[in-house]
């Protein structure tokens, strides 16, 4: 098979047939990669819902150079030979993306100060880059009751942006379909079948794939802000999963365990619930060393030994203040 040539924001790359525009853009680098809230490489049929990855195809292909009439979702559009794509260089795309971010934030509570996801939230990053400083929504935002999905996961639907990633996790990792979307339109809601607990060894991955703070780890809720913790790569011999995880530590104490996320916020390998929730003793793990973080990540700001100015006063953890 011959490689296809695609140009994104004036940068050209050759990719294999079947690659989507988003994947091609990620190969070129973060400078041209559109943001994605619902697309997840490792989940089949994900993507296409949030519309943040909209791009303009200014030239369809070498054979058919007509531009596409509408903006397309780059995560679900495959590249053609000679395709030319405009992402950040097109004002139309930037404008549409700003609109999408405004829609996503329209009913989002913006309760970042009390949200466990703060610091590693994709919506936070996205609204920082594309959002307005002030909302134009003058109406009451929709709210939902919190729901427990099993004893380890809590669903806070009010924060959800309906990316369907957790639905795909439940669909593709569990044998029975108990997790899905009920109702429609603005009041649609992620739900488990009549409040069934999702009882599966891999259900914890819903927390990792959630781009916002809608699904949170109940063993970690309100324990600490993520940027106070030090991420350390570690592994253990696990008979269910690869056992390759990231430990989030404060001193020697392990506060939480997640999968290893790459620069696009997607886990490298899904991990099982035993590794995630039950093995919190340092003796369970073989540490590999500190996890590399992007210099721009808010999490890297609070690191020991990071090249930021060290704050002399001791950091007190929120939960210790409470006790």
């Amino acid at each position: 098979m011959s490689l296809l040539k695609v140009t994104i924001d004036n940068k050209t790359i050759e990719v294999e047939p079947g690659t989507t525009i988003l994947q091609a853009a990620r190969m070129i680098g973060p400078d041209v990669a559109p943001p994605a809230m619902c697309y997840y490489t490792k989940l089949k049929t994900s993507g296409g819902y949030c519309r943040t990855c909209l791009v303009k195809v200014s030239k369809g292909s070498e054979k058919d150079p007509r531009p596409m009439p509408k903006l397309v979702a780059s995560c679900r559009t495959t590249v053609m030979d000679g395709m030319e794509v405009e992402n950040f260089t097109s004002p139309e795309v930037v404008d549409a993306r700003n609109g999408v971010v405004e829609f996503l934030l329209l009913n989002h509570p913006l309760d970042c100060p009390i949200c466990d996801q703060a610091g590693e939230c994709h919506l936070q990053d996205l609204s920082y880059e594309n959002g307005k400083s002030k909302t134009r929504n003058e109406f009451e935002r929709r709210t939902f009751e919190k729901i427990d999905i099993g004893d380890k996961i809590q669903l806070h639907m009010t924060r959800c942006i309906l990316c369907y990633r957790c639905v795909k996790v439940a669909d593709q990792f569990t044998p029975e379909r108990v997790h899905g979307v009920i109702n429609r339109g603005e009041v649609s809601e992620i739900s488990t079948y009549i409040q069934h607990a999702v009882d599966n060894d891999f259900s914890g991955n819903m927390i990792d794939v959630c781009p916002v703070g809608a699904l949170t780890d109940k063993t970690f809720r309100f324990k600490s802000r993520v940027w106070f913790l030090k991420p350390v790569d570690a592994h253990r011999n696990c008979d269910k999963c690869s056992g390759k995880t990231v430990l989030w530590k404060y001193g020697q104490e392990i506060y939480r365990i997640t999968g290893r996320k790459d620069q696009w916020g997607e886990v490298e390998e899904f991990i099982c619930n035993t590794c995630r929730f039950d093995k919190k003793a340092p003796s369970d793990w073989t540490e590999e060393g500190p996890r590399k973080l992007s210099r721009h990540s808010v999490i890297s700001q609070g690191q020991y030994g990071a090249k930021t100015k060290f704050v002399a006063s001791p950091v007190t953890l929120p939960n210790k203040q409470l006790s």
Binding site: Y49, N107, V181, N183, E186
Partner: protein
């Protein structure tokens, strides 16, 4: 007098029953197609006829049929979209209620052309009694050998099923319809792949509107060339128009495409003029999703030509001064109707019917509805009007399926043509607090205004 093809036998008593339908020339097209034509011949006739999809988008049917993938060993399906839920459109209900056999006949002929051995008629939940009528017609067709194994001894097998939906507007979108038919949540699929490649159960599928399928019957009977003689330009044949609103004779009319809009509204043969001797204020020519037209653009285009009931003429001038034929839901408003209230009503419908899959439509329709509600109740301010335009622009074209566009267009068009009325709502909140405002006297005098795009 306009020629009728679909409703030609509508006046005959008992036409719902098989015997009367058959004795009036029914099922001739099945006989002709199965015995004397090849499937490709039928597709060729439909192509020649220039028939365009009657569900709203107006895509050429023959072309759609020829796109159908034909891999070996994979079944193909024909699905009839009878999920007619557009506010202002009721032509399919009329057709199925009065002449159910023309749909069954068209389905058999079309399935033969496409090589489909199974077909489905997806009827919206609210049309439950219509589903009973169609089911009875199908049972009669089975009993008389038009369906089942080895039809007319030609070796063509065909089974037809009726599926009643749950009453969701979104299931009228073809991929959402297929999802619903498969027993899933009716969310539109992301295209490509199009249903012609991977549709129902992943097999090649054609989804057509009720009226489109019924129109295949006269095309096969009389030939595509004969059908193409009716109409003007690329708008050929006849079209069912469901006329409603402030007119003297609301109802379903079969027109030859190319009838002037003025004649359609004012002649006694059709709508019979505006009711109660009032003036026309506005018109929605193709169902709630298409842009509204003010009175001075209904009968004449911006260039001063007569506007005709055709796909091209109604969309003349683009969205600045034109509209669309859409599904043929022709709604006329007299001077006492409040455009803001009407726009709010449409917007409320789209808010309720949005499936919630993609963000612009899920959040935007609700936002527009709330802003319009505020304006209508006299609690809005001037910036709301521009906000509406901007939100509509952000939704339009950025969604998975056309529901987002359908929600945005009527709002944008109403603000474009009736901005003064929105402003009136902001400036005189005391006058519009009464929910019946405008009923006794016009909200504002109808005055023609030039439009700048």
């Amino acid at each position: 007098m306009s020629r009728k093809l679909l409703l030609a036998n509508d006046h005959i008593p008992g036409i719902q029953s098989y015997e009367v339908y058959r004795s009036n020339g029914g099922y001739r097209s099945v006989e002709k197609a199965l015995k004397t034509m090849s499937p490709d011949d039928v597709v060729e006739e439909v192509k020649k006829s220039g028939l365009r999809g009657r569900g709203g988008a107006g895509f050429p049917t023959g072309m759609k049929w020829s796109f159908l993938a034909k891999p070996e060993g994979v079944p193909r399906y024909l699905v009839c979209n009878a999920d007619e839920s557009e506010p202002g459109t009721f032509k399919d209900r009329y057709l199925m209620e009065h002449i159910p056999h023309i749909l069954v006949e068209g389905m058999i002929t079309s399935s033969f052309a496409l090589g489909a051995n199974t077909s489905y008629i997806y009827i919206r939940g609210e049309y439950f009694y219509v589903a009973r009528i169609v089911e009875k017609a199908i049972a009669e067709a089975y009993a008389n050998g038009w369906l089942g194994k080895n039809i007319l001894g030609t070796g063509f097998n065909h089974d037809m099923y009726v599926q009643v939906g749950g009453g969701a507007y979104i299931c009228g979108e073809e991929t959402a319809l297929l999802e619903s038919l498969e027993g899933k949540r009716g969310n539109p699929r992301i295209k490509p792949p199009f249903p012609a490649i991977a549709g129902l159960y992943g097999c090649p599928t054609v989804v057509n509107n009720v009226e489109t399928i019924a129109a295949v019957v006269p095309i096969v009977n009389d030939g595509g060339d004969e059908y193409a003689k009716i109409g003007i330009g690329r708008s050929t044949g006849t079209k069912l128009i469901s006329a409603s609103g402030n007119i003297n004779k609301p109802g379903v009319y079969e027109i030859e495409l190319g009838v002037p809009v003025e004649e359609f509204i004012f002649s006694d043969q059709y709508c019979g003029g505006i009711a109660n001797g009032k003036r026309m204020k506005a018109c929605v020519p193709g169902g709630s999703s298409v842009p509204i037209l003010p009175d001075y653009l209904v009968c004449k285009t911006a260039a001063g030509e007569d506007r005709l009931m055709t796909y091209e003429s109604l969309s003349d001038g683009g969205f600045a001064t034109g509209s669309m034929l859409g599904s043929g839901g022709f709604i006329v408003y007299d001077e006492n109707q409040c455009i803001v209230r009407n726009t709010w009503n449409f917007s409320r419908f789209y808010h309720h019917e949005s499936c919630g899959q993609c963000s612009p439509c899920r959040e935007g329709t609700g936002w527009m509805e709330r802003v319009l509600h505020r304006l209508e109740k006299g609690m809005g301010n001037m910036s709301d009007i521009d906000l509406l335009v901007e939100v509509a622009k952000k939704i339009e074209g950025n969604t998975i399926c056309p529901l987002g566009d359908a929600a945005a267009w009527p709002v944008a068009a109403a603000v474009r043509h009736f901005r003064h009325e929105f402003e009136h709502h902001v400036l005189h909140p005391d006058k519009v607090k009464d929910p019946k405002h405008g009923h006794r006297e016009p909200i504002m005098p109808v005055k023609p205004q030039p439009v700048t795009a």
